[in-house]
């Protein structure tokens, strides 16, 4: 198994390296003649009028990426920075996502998380697209994410962009209610040796070794290895739930500035973990991926980027099912400024998956056929039109996708942004987004052998959303504010129908429900002093789901959306004298009424000490207010787990 993986990864690396060598002479030659002039909407004259502080606060871009200040973005985007993560004491990517007030994040047990935006959360939440350095991490089994294998080393993350609301036009299917974009640091920002580690009550032990060095004058690389051992969660009565787990992971990243206009990035990771279960034997997870990216500024007005990756993942859940998945993906994107007013981005993509599920003697579910190969072809085009340059911009675009289940699908959107002054942006958007079928909708059968009481729906089609959004962002000096309001209609939501009513079984999956959601996401960030920052977020959310005429599904969406009506987040950090730092992070989450999960409030706190710039010591308290609390899962469910208070200490040494 491990051997196969290594061989596949090695083959892929040789292939991509070969490709890089082939393309190099061409672009190296051109780069020097064109120089580096990405589109520059602020002239040298305008920049010279700025103060040093303003220059330092200006968002810049190097190659091909179109820079945008957050305050001008015409969508409900929130950014979690490396500093936010470091100060929060978060111990996993999923936990760090709690820092985005526009996400609903609930920890289910020691390894599973329910994460969504704008409702429709669940253990198999399927309306959120998650990308790590451009690699889509959802599983085609249910269009959701296995969070236990998305353990990006937190100190390597540069930022996490969290966009709530449809992002389907640019990002594609599944970006129905949000996109999470995890971006890791450039290798040049992780040079030298880093040793870090620690342990505590819930985080039993963890350690990372990372080393970064130049590999020639324009190439920087890093390599890392890490592992952790996490404690089990608790049963409602306080007993140990026996779901403790450990994972080992290693990887590399290499960035090559082939010229002032071209860049190449090659990165990869391998992981292997075991998660205990209270019965049936350990869950085994393993996998890896290799990503190659190339971008090039073609001229002052246009740039090109290509991206390819291979991902392999293996999961064996004894007593439930097993899966091996291979994903191949290639994307090409070109952006160009046409005339004075048009910024056009278009792209093409192809993805191929090969998914092999295993039905064991004791499996409770089956995906039939057990092995499938599927292909997706995508194309998108988007034009940002400066109706009144720097004041009123209109963006129109559409994604066209072809999938093996439903053929061609179209996901258009239109956005208008208006900047009445220099500090704020008012924006509105109308989008159509689709959640295309995944294996669970069409190919799931339970139990694993006939007679089935539940079967996938052979006619299951895409779930459709029409979303209307209105928002405002403001950034001036030390204050940042954002308000996003939304109303969405859903058609063809997943339902479970009785085949021969009134007989309760068998059941079949169909598109028998419709729904709506509306709400508002408000965030504010304020620097009280140079050393004290406060960040607050509040989300109000309503989701209503109802059966279509003729549907026998009377769940009113309790199987599709399990979210609190409101949540509040407050994060504060302050630098104290003597190189000390203190951060507190409070969250109050309303009840999930269709699961009878009570409302709760929790607090995390972190004390850090940096005696020198080479050494960081921290003491972190997680979920301090209660000995144990529940975040997700019906109270009657046998899989309900409580999350316990935890304390850990950590040391990081850079040199």
């Amino acid at each position: 198994m491990a051997g196969m993986r290594t061989v596949a990864a090695a083959t892929w690396m040789v292939f991509t390296l070969g490709l890089m060598c082939l393309v190099r002479p061409g672009f190296a030659q051109q780069a020097d003649s064109t120089g580096q002039r990405p589109d520059t909407s602020l002239s040298a004259e305008a920049l010279k009028k700025l103060s040093i502080e303003q220059l330092m606060n200006l968002q810049v871009t190097s190659v091909s990426k179109r820079p945008e200040r957050l305050s001008q973005t015409a969508s409900a985007i929130q950014v979690i920075t490396q500093e936010d993560i470091r100060r929060s004491g978060a111990s996993s990517l999923a936990e760090a996502l709690r820092l985005a007030a526009n996400l609903q994040v609930a920890q289910i047990d020691s390894r599973q998380w329910a994460i969504s935006a704008r409702g429709f959360n669940g253990t198999t939440a399927n309306k959120l697209l998650v990308l790590i350095d451009g690699r889509t991490v959802y599983t085609p089994l249910f269009s959701g994410v296995f969070w236990d294998v998305q353990e990006v080393p937190l100190q390597d993350i540069d930022r996490i962009e969290v966009i709530s609301g449809p992002g389907a036009t640019l990002w594609g299917a599944n970006a129905v209610n949000g996109v999470i974009n995890v971006i890791t640091k450039d290798a040049k920002d992780t040079q030298g040796l880093l040793l870090s580690g620690g342990g505590g009550t819930e985080q039993h032990g963890f350690g990372t070794v990372r080393y970064g060095a130049p590999l020639g004058s324009n190439v920087r690389a890093r390599i890392y290895g890490r592992g952790f051992d996490r404690d089990a969660t608790a049963l409602p009565g306080g007993q140990d739930a026996a779901d403790d787990w450990h994972l080992e992971q290693g990887g590399f990243r290499m960035d090559w500035d082939a010229s002032s206009a071209s860049r190449v990035t090659l990165q990869g990771d391998l992981y292997d973990g075991r998660i205990a279960q209270d019965s049936g034997g350990d869950i085994g997870v393993s996998g890896g991926h290799v990503v190659a990216k190339w971008s090039r500024t073609l001229s002052e007005r246009s740039s090109l980027a290509a991206h390819l990756y291979y991902d392999r993942t293996h999961r064996d859940i004894p007593g439930v099912f097993g899966e091996d998945l291979d994903t191949y993906d290639v994307d090409l994107q070109h952006s160009a400024r046409l005339g004075a007013r048009h910024d056009v981005v278009w792209g093409l993509g192809y993805r191929n998956i090969n998914d092999r599920t295993v039905i064991g003697a004791d499996s409770t579910v089956a995906f039939l056929p057990t092995q499938v190969a599927r292909e997706w072809f995508t194309g998108f085009v988007q034009d940002e039109i400066a109706l009144v340059p720097n004041r009123v911009h209109v963006t129109v675009g559409t994604k066209v996708e072809h999938n093996d289940y439903t053929g061609f699908e179209i996901q258009p959107s239109g956005r208008v942004s208006w900047r009445p002054g220099s500090s704020g942006t008012l924006w509105m958007a109308v989008s159509r987004a689709l959640r295309t079928p995944s294996r669970i909708d069409r190919e799931l059968f339970a139990p694993a052998k006939p007679p089935y009481f539940l079967a996938g729906g052979p006619d299951f089609h895409s779930e459709e959303e029409l979303a209307y959004e209105l928002g405002y962002r403001y950034q001036r000096g030390t204050l940042g504010l954002s308000v996003a309001t939304f109303y969405s209609r859903y058609h063809g939501l997943r339902s479970v129908e009785q085949v021969n009513p009134p007989a309760p079984v068998p059941l079949v999956i169909a598109n028998g429900q419709a729904g709506e959601s509306y709400g508002a996401e408000v965030t504010a960030e304020y620097w009280l002093t140079n050393r004290w920052r406060v960040h607050a977020g509040y989300t109000e959310l309503r989701v209503h789901v109802w059966p279509n005429p003729g549907s026998t599904d009377m769940s009113r969406g309790s199987g599709e959306s399990q979210v609190p009506d409101r949540q509040f987040l407050l994060q504060s950090w302050v630098d104290l004298p003597a190189h000390l730092g203190l951060a507190a992070w409070f969250r109050a989450i309303d009840d999930i009424n269709n699961q009878l999960v009570p409302a709760y409030a929790e607090l995390n706190a972190t004390l850090t000490w940096r005696p020198t710039s080479h050494l960081d010591l921290s003491l972190v308290g997680q979920n301090l207010l209660h000995g144990q609390h529940r975040e997700f899962g019906a109270s009657s469910s046998p899989t309900r787990r409580d999350i316990q208070r935890g304390v850990y200490g950590a040391v990081a040494w850079h040199f």
Binding site: Q36, R37, I52, Q59, T61, S62, S260, G421, G424, T485
Partner: protein, 180 residues
């Protein structure tokens, strides 16, 4: 929801009345403007300036990441009576008189030799190379989360008898040499 609408409307009114420069720019462009600005925040020793109208020279050593951006930035500009000029150098030996020297990454990755030979000359050395300030350079551009920060090695500047204004030091990270 009503409260939200009122808040939004209020914010809009406030925002419409405010005005300042914001926008976006390429990394090279912003660095070029920084180089130009440094001339306002640094004082050179009197004996380094031949006369009050001598050109203020911004040099680029090694590969030029700016194209014509730096030239466009300083075109027609003066510091007092001194006009700005941009010179490009392939080799260290080519540098005759220079006030601000941007050392390109290709050269600055091995900065020890360059910096040793420039040591104590009244030239403000700037680069975006790793560890540049720790290894004896004066100002390093650090691109961090798409923003440019400055690291300043004040000891190196003082050794060359350059005075860096506290206005610049205040917004920069002051680093000390590692003694390498």
């Amino acid at each position: 929801m009503a409260l939200l609408r009122v808040t939004t409307a209020l914010l809009l009114v406030c925002a419409a009345r405010l005005g300042a420069q914001t926008g976006k720019a390429s990394e090279a462009q912003v660095k070029a403007v920084f180089l130009f600005n440094f001339a306002q925040f640094v004082d050179w020793p009197a004996d380094a300036v031949p006369d009050s109208q001598a050109p203020l020279v911004i040099g680029i050593l090694g590969g030029d990441p700016f194209g014509d951006l730096l030239d466009a930035t300083v075109r027609g500009e003066h510091r007092g009576a001194r006009p700005f000029v941009v010179h490009r150098y392939q080799r260290l030996e080519d540098i005759t008189r220079c006030d601000i020297l941007f050392i390109s990454r290709s050269v600055a990755d091995q900065p020890d030799e360059v910096l040793t030979r420039l040591k104590n000359r009244p030239i403000l050395t700037v680069s975006d190379a790793d560890q540049f300030a720790e290894r004896g350079g004066m100002i390093r551009f650090v691109t961090d989360r798409s923003r440019i920060r400055l690291q300043i090695n004040q000891e190196a500047a003082e050794a060359a008898h350059l005075t860096i204004s506290s206005k610049l030091l205040r917004v920069a990270e002051v680093v000390t040499p590692t003694g390498r």
